[in-house]
Amino acid sequence: MQFTDKYVAKSSHIASRMLGDESIIMSSVDSTLFALNPTGTVIWEAADGTTPLSRILEEKVCAEFDVTFEQASIDAKEFIDKLAEHGILLVSDLPIPSKEVS
């Protein structure tokens, strides 16, 4: 399975808010604070647990920013791995029902 075939969802154990065209996110588990740039914010906003990452990259990232799918995939993996490490984003091979987002 490709990384871009996976599903991503926001954890419910976070605080987040849009600040201009960026997002601020804090993990309530370890209080780590993140500021996401506009590209990261697009992925974050689209991380609903039911849309495959490949579609998010194609329809949101590549459509709105001047970047190839390949490059977007590489950047997204690094970004998602980092947030997943802090429990902020959940990553799964299967769609993530909202009740499981915790």
């Binding site: 605080a15 987040s16 804090m26």
Partner: protein, 351 residues
Amino acid sequence: MSLLEEMNGKATALGIPLSSQLDITWRCNERCVHCYLDHDGKGEMSIAEIKDVIRQLAESGTFFLSISGGEPLLRRDCFEILEYARSLRFNVKLKTNAVMIGPKEAQRLRELGIEQIQISVYSHRAEIHDAITKLPGSLKRTLNAIRLLRAEGLKVSITHVMMQQNASDGMAVRQLAQDLGVAFVIDPTITPKLNGDRSIVTLGLIGSALKEVFQTEEFVGNVEEYCAPVSTVDEDVLNSSSCSAGHTLVYVSPFGDVYPCVQFPMPCGNLREQTFREIWRGSAALTELRSIQVRDLPTCSHCDHVSYCSRCPGLAYMEGDMRGPSSADCKKSEARTGIRSAGQRHKVGYC
């Protein structure tokens, strides 16, 4: 520059109330001798009104939301309010005396992902703490609650308000906080009552007692650095505003009144009559406050302490002029450095 400072800078530029305090009630089960509130609950907002305020704060960009009071847990719907705030992804801090927190409440607060519980502890001695809160047994109940909250893995911060009644207890409370594994913050300022009554201000530390606090490394960190006078004033200081109240910080009372800060009772509007956005963007009082730079302060801009003074415009407002000095902060600057402030000299006719 830290990420938090960057966020604050961006929020200031965009006019976003990044931090809000919402008092959901002024009723309280304690009667602290230094409290600045009256405890009348008549006319406080309903749960529907409070949820609407919280929704509006989210839409306006608030990220840090402090739910406070009075004692917020006196409202039976307090957990419903907290749950709603968390569903809108606020970073929520709860300010409480904790005496109503048992195992179930602690567990629920953990499940909701409350960022921090802030609790006042006035002394390690029950006879002193309980005499200040006027609630017998309150220290024991508060400390039991802190242990329960810690057992759930929640972050707790003890705020130690310093006054004449507990002047010698700071170090012991700090040790208590360490033993409990919680943060410790001192607050040496007694705020006048919001109705203008200044009688409780006399409870605060003054003179040598205040100086001793600022000479204690455990309270202020590097004493030499903290107490060193800084005479150079750069343009950045003069062009800045002296605090975030009304810029990135806002306070909402249980009755829907909007103020720049809980310590700044300048009426800006009421949420039963206007939307939050209308008040935040359109209030003449807020517009005036935001226009004030340090260079516009007739006394303080020429003060030796201007580059590091913790001048509170709300306390100055309560003394009659939000552009004037705050005598509490003048005393603190003098206690830190041994140098009288321009505000103090002005009052005795030195200039």
